[in-house]
């Protein structure tokens, strides 16, 4: 890439040098000069409509708009000259012609761009004496309230929805001063309900229905922390009023996401202060769990660990990858050092978890920040519905596709959102991820020559037959060729992969193929893990075969499946479930049930009652992320600070404190004065985390594996081709819906409005074939059992593949799917047809 040409110009008598093409608003910001904007937005292309950014440019007869004007060599601008001030004052007066003076009852009040700009440029009283226009206030669904009276028709919401989210749910109707915002058909919003339209609205025209009239910004105690759902690691500000969290809001100067949040990030703030939270330790007495003192509960756990050790039985742990780095680090110390056991894992959903050396190979690739997407030449997204699973990455990619037709290849079994707009799609058959990856690898290698890993990969792939790859994946050689050409058409490249790839039965070979693709094409390789701190769990060595910092464990222990199998066969003395619920997440639910039943002692730490916690011998109340200080690491490997935004619920305790007390109970001399002391130890023992506790958050750089060089070419095994779907069934897959994440969000009322319960998404053509209609209640029968679900047409489904998101207790995906594969052929029958009014 060539360096941009630098241009020097003058703003308010001060010179600024900026790359050619820099907008005046941004150049002014470099000097600390704030030019007001309404229609302009950092993610959107300049529009130039609202005119509030008018400034003077010397030698131009009239003011120019700073939001679209670019720096020019020698140009002289004035933001405070008479011409500039008069122009902006005039615009401000126009904006207030039809704007109501209802700031005292407006949710935006105190955080309103129009209010702020009005203080700066307004004239205090209006010369407009006629009646203002007026509209009724309307609900646009469960999330958004539209008050057109306040709207200044800047079109930010419409453009954000269209250009950035790809939803086009909003539009401007009518013309001239009748111009007004509406949904496309005048009904409720049909979209991802991300609420970014509310966030970008510079006035109170679009406000949040759940937050409506709940608080004024100055009543809120706001704390900056990191979202606990997916691995994007979005920063947000949790707002608390009288002990209850009432909103989450992102700010454009903070975080990797700046002002972006998805629906679950924006509306997932309720569960930490839910009344359903566990408040007290409980001990099993006479078949049920009874409230107990901490000392008694911990004492039982300590004795159980001692008993297991003296009986020569295993002490094992399964952890949630939502726990903080500090929790995870101490858990692995407890298991490894105090209980002298190598058996721990955090990967519950993966059928074929990646072996340690492969994880280390992945860690050897340099980290790539999400912001790099803006300058990428091309991208491949493999086995990830990136818009549903990792919304920040999804929306960042979509923006580049919209704005500069960035060449993107999407390989997925379903017709996912990004694939619909991508230059090249590889819609492989469910379960044929490996065949699809091998085909693409063969095409990519064929383009590259001479030496190094490319040569090795080419030799390996040369013998693979196109017929086998095509019949295995359902794709053609031409499709692979097109995908390869698309990826090569950009300069800098990145390969992203995610949960579908990681949950595949052949995940290790698939990841080897992806490593080879990256080596051959010179692309960055970015795994998009599924939980907020999956990256941290890997880094902290909550793995059977890696110690913290990717050091090989001297004697590898058991992974999740092995722990559960051994437990079911009576070899496990203690099973610690640190926020983990294998009943909900492990593919083989029956095995998990047996494991919990047969373990001598089950210790559960969790936020809520779960099927697993209710089978435990001792259940401890864990603090949620919102009540915890600590750190989490996102998919950029950026270590970010968690800050407690709410008071702890009941007697709940931080995970690391619980592990510390267990260790001391077992005779260890652990004594951490505070979190900082623990972080100091992590810094000393895990060199990757030298930033921990110091400069964390978006300002921190991502860690890099010390002394790592890119791995060599990986041998890729051959997969089994999946059988065709059985007659009369629909092949169905599972994952996260954009409205929920894992099993936590079912405690959030707003998210339940967006997706209230078990739902089967399927393509219109499949619904027609199976005689199902939107809203029908259907009985789904699969290899794992039966569940009931509502039918929804569209979503991340099809064609030929349904989607059953996994979020609801009692209807977990593992009750429906068998343990063998992450998809299943489901028999669907209508229980009751939807009532259509």
């Amino acid at each position: 890439m060539t360096e941009p040409k630098m241009v020097t110009c003058t703003i308010d008598g001060r010179t600024v040098t900026a790359p050619e093409g820099t907008l005046l608003t941004d150049a002014a910001k470099m000097l600390g000069i704030q030019i007001p904007i309404f229609c302009s937005h950092h993610r959107l292309k300049p529009l130039g409509a609202c005119r509030i950014c008018l400034i003077e440019k010397e030698k131009t007869g009239k003011p120019v708009i700073a939001c679209a004007e670019m720096v020019a060599e020698g140009a002289v601008f004035h933001t405070q000259s008479e011409m500039a001030l008069k122009a902006r004052k005039g615009i401000m007066e126009y904006l207030l012609v039809n704007h109501p003076l209802d700031c005292p009852i407006c949710d935006e009040g105190g955080e309103c761009d129009l209010q702020d700009t009005s203080y700066e440029h307004g004239i205090g009283s209006s010369r407009f004496v006629e009646m203002k226009r007026s509209f009724d206030i309307v609900d646009l669904g469960p999330i958004v309230v539209l008050d057109r009276n306040r709207c200044i028709v800047c079109a930010r919401c419409v453009r954000y929805c269209n250009d950035i989210m790809g939803d086009s749910a909003l539009t401007i109707e009518e013309r001239g001063f009748h111009s007004q915002i509406n949904t496309r058909d005048g009904g409720e919003l049909e979209c991802q309900q991300c609420g970014n339209c509310i966030e970008v609205c510079p006035v109170g025209a679009l406000t949040s229905r759940p937050y409506r009239f709940k608080a004024r910004p100055w009543d809120l105690k706001q704390t900056e922390t990191v979202c606990n759902f997916c691995s994007n690691g979005c920063t947000f500000h949790l707002g608390r009023r009288e002990g209850t969290l009432v909103r989450a809001r992102a700010k454009k100067s903070h975080g990797v996401n700046r002002d972006f949040l998805c629906a679950r990030g924006r509306y997932g703030y309720e569960f930490p202060t839910s009344p359903e939270r566990l408040h007290f330790p409980r001990i099993r007495q006479g078949g049920s769990l009874q409230r107990a003192e901490w000392s008694d509960a911990l004492g039982q756990a300590v004795r159980a660990i001692q008993a297991a050790r003296s009986a020569g039985k295993a002490v094992t742990a399964l952890a949630s990858a939502r726990l903080s780095n500090e929790d995870l680090y101490l858990l692995q110390r407890l298991v490894r050092e105090v209980a002298a056991s190598p058996h721990l894992d955090h990967r519950l959903e993966q059928r074929a978890p990646l072996p340690g050396p492969l994880l280390k190979s992945l860690a050897a690739f340099p980290a790539l920040p999400v912001s790099a997407i803006a300058t990428l030449g091309s991208a491949l997204v493999f086995g990830e519905d990136v818009n549903e699973e990792q919304p920040l990455y999804g929306t960042s990619l979509l923006r580049e596709v919209h704005y500069r037709r960035m060449p993107v290849v999407v390989a997925h079994s379903r017709r996912v959102r990004l694939m619909q707009e991508a230059a090249s799609g590889l819609p492989y058959r469910p379960g044929s991820e490996l065949a699809a990856a091998r085909g693409l690898l063969k095409s990519l290698a064929a383009h590259q020559g001479a030496a190094g890993p490319a040569e090795e990969v080419r030799k390996m792939t040369a013998g693979w037959s196109w017929e086998a790859l095509a019949s295995g994946s359902g794709l053609t050689e031409a499709q692979f060729e097109k995908a390869a050409a698309t990826l090569y058409s950009g300069g800098s490249r990145a390969i992203y992969f995610g949960s579908q790839a990681l949950r595949a039965a052949e995940a290790p070979d698939l990841v080897r193929a992806l490593i080879d693709m990256a080596l051959v094409s010179g692309a960055s390789l970015v795994p998009l893990w599924d939980r907020s701190n999956s990256q941290g769990a890997l880094d902290m060595g909550v793995l059977p075969d890696l110690l913290p910092g990717y050091e090989a464990a001297p004697a590898p222990g058991w992974n999740t499946a092995e722990i559960l199998r051994r437990s079911a066969s009576g070899e496990v003395g203690v099973l610690i479930l640190a926020g983990a619920d294998p009943l909900a997440h492990f593919p083989d639910r029956k095995l998990a049930e047996n494991a919990l039943r047969k373990a001598d002692f089950v210790l559960s730490l969790d936020l809520f009652e779960t099927d697993a916690s209710e089978m435990a011998h001792v259940s401890l109340p864990l603090r949620s992320y919102a009540e915890s200080d600590g750190s989490v690491t996102n998919s950029e490997r950026r270590v970010q600070a968690l800050r407690s935004a709410a008071n702890p619920v009941g007697e709940s305790e931080a995970g690391w404190r619980i592990f510390e007390r267990l260790a001391t109970g077992l005779g260890s001399a652990w004594n951490y004065a505070d979190l900082l002391a623990l972080q100091e130890e992590i810094r000393a023992r895990v060199p990757l985390y030298k930033v921990l506790g110091r400069r964390m958050g978006p300002a921190a750089t991502s860690w890099a594996l010390p002394g790592a060089s890119l791995p060599g070419a990986q041998p890729v095994g051959e997969g089994k081709a999946p059988a065709a779907a059985a007659a009369g069934t629909l092949r169905v897959e599972s994952g996260n819906s954009i409205f929920h994440h894992g099993m936590l969000s079912q405690h959030n009322k707003v998210q339940l409005k967006l997706l209230p319960g078990p739902t089967l998404f399927l393509a219109a053509e499949d619904a027609a074939r199976l005689r199902l209609a939107e809203g029908d209640l259907a009985l789904l029968e699969g290899p794992g059992g039966k569940v009931e679900a509502r039918v929804k047409i569209g979503g991340p489904s099809g064609p030929g593949v349904g989607f059953y998101p996994d979020h609801f207790a009692g209807a977990e995906a593992n009750r429906l799917f068998g343990p063998e594969s992450p998809f299943a052929d489901i028999k669907i029958s209508t229980l009751s047809a939807a009532v259509h009014s």
């Binding site: 005119r51 007869g61 122009a87 005039g90 401007i172 013309r175 001239g176």
Partner: protein, 427 residues
């Protein structure tokens, strides 16, 4: 009079290809495709000094030369036939009576810039004219004058005739392009200019009907013949659409630089009986109005601008002493308020507010200070709006207050009922 584009305009059946051709039609295209290289054609148009007849007067040859020679995206010729400027009806007659002259101009423009797809964006209300153009295009295509391999030259040009849906703003060239692409008709940010990135992102020239209709003449007779008419900086002829209480209103093609007095008194035969000249808007409704002191101004781009107005589209609107300037200005402002697309704040809110103030003055409810308010609104609208529509809305208001302030003040005094200015504000 009627020396170039209106020459023989009333020849019976001129719409028919055979009649047009018998009168020398399509000779320019035959000649150009055979003997004139695209660059030479652009140079000819440059030399002729032809300036856009849609209102802005931008040099046509220069506009064509901005189109990149090599482009990855297709290039387009788009004809702006969205003639909606109040007081302007010249393109209408050109298309109604001599459609093939326009088609010939389009083919020449396409040849010059290397375009193979052209569009006529025609005002929605001109449904009958769209049919005329379609018939002409079909006839031309059937004869091999349009479509594939025109005149056996190997040059292809498709033509699409697209009717607008009734928005004045779509006469603004970038709004026209958005509308043509199927979006809301709203102006686009410039740069990039359409010549670089226009329709569907391809290099595009957008020319007015009258402008393109001049091109066959320039090719046939040469730039010098065109320059025989008009002035040095405004060469050639121009159609003036005269409306109002004159004896013979209508379209007249005259050399640029013809004095207004000659147009009104000689060619249009002066005012109708009982009418005395009060005001003239010389270039369509979007330009400043003159009082009767400006009759000796030569009608060319420079001279009109030097006297505080603009030649614009050449729509000469004549108003007599029986016209209320307050009512006329309110009428125009209502038009601009109705036609403001709503994209930018000053135009959307300013036209609305100005109409309210003018309306109350007209209804006899004006308040002292209203004229200052109106002039202030003009100054916060003019030069601040996204496109020229805001300027267009402000200029008639400002000029009519400046020229006819007495009438406004009298209206406001009547409203105050003789009260002092301090007490007159309460209604």
């Amino acid at each position: 009079m009627n020396d170039i584009v209106f020459k023989g305009i009333d020849t019976p059946n001129l719409r028919q290809l055979a009649v047009y051709e018998a009168n020398g039609g399509y000779a320019a295209v035959r000649k150009a495709l055979k003997d004139i290289k695209p660059d030479e054609l652009i140079e000819m148009v440059k030399q002729s000094g032809l300036r856009g007849r849609g209102g802005a007067g931008f040099p046509t040859g220069m506009k064509w030369s901005f189109v990149p020679k090599v482009s990855a995206e297709p290039k387009y010729v788009v004809v702006n036939a969205d003639e909606s400027e109040p007081g302007t009806f010249k393109d209408r007659e050109l298309m109604e009576k001599n459609p093939h002259q326009l088609l010939e101009g389009i083919i020449l423009a396409a040849w010059a810039i290397g375009s193979h797809k052209s569009f006529i964006y025609i005002r929605g209300e001109f449904a009958h004219i769209a049919k005329i153009l379609e018939a002409a295009a079909l006839e031309a295509e059937a004869r091999g004058y349009l479509g594939k391999n025109i005149f056996g030259s190997g040059f292809d040009l498709d033509l699409v005739i697209h009717r607008g849906a009734g928005a004045y703003i779509c006469g603004e060239e970038t709004a026209l392009l958005d509308s043509l692409e199927g979006f809301r008709g709203q102006p686009r940010l410039k740069p990039p200019f359409p010549a670089v990135k226009g329709l569907y992102g391809g290099p595009t020239i957008v020319n007015n009907v009258e402008t393109l209709s001049f091109v066959p003449f320039i090719v046939n007779e040469g730039p010098a013949a065109f320059r025989k008419f008009g002035t040095e900086k405004s060469p050639g002829t121009k159609i003036f659409s005269v409306s109002g209480p004159v004896k013979k209103p209508g379209n007249y093609e005259l050399p640029l630089g013809t004095p207004l007095r000659k147009l009104l008194e000689e060619i249009c035969g002066g005012m109708l009986g009982g009418h005395e000249l009060l005001a003239v808007i010389p270039g369509g409704s979007s330009v400043p109005v003159w009082n009767k002191d400006y009759l000796d101004v030569p009608l060319d781009f420079e001279s009109v601008a030097a006297k505080g107005s603009l030649l614009g589209s050449g729509g000469v609107i004549v108003m007599s002493s029986k016209t209320s300037m307050v009512a006329a200005t309110l009428n125009l402002t209502r038009f601009y308020r109705h036609e403001s697309c709503g994209k930018c704040t000053p135009c959307r809110e300013g036209t609305y507010w100005m109409e309210k103030v003018l309306g109350r003055i007209h209804r006899g409810l004006g308040m002292p200070g209203d004229l200052e308010l109106l002039l202030d609104l003009c100054s916060t609208l003019e030069g601040r709006s996204f496109c020229a529509l805001g300027d267009a809305a402000a200029m008639p208001v400002r000029s009519s207050i400046l020229m006819f302030r007495d009438e406004y003040e009298a209206r406001i005094r009547e409203a105050a009922g003789g009260k002092t200015p301090e007490t007159a504000g309460s209604r």
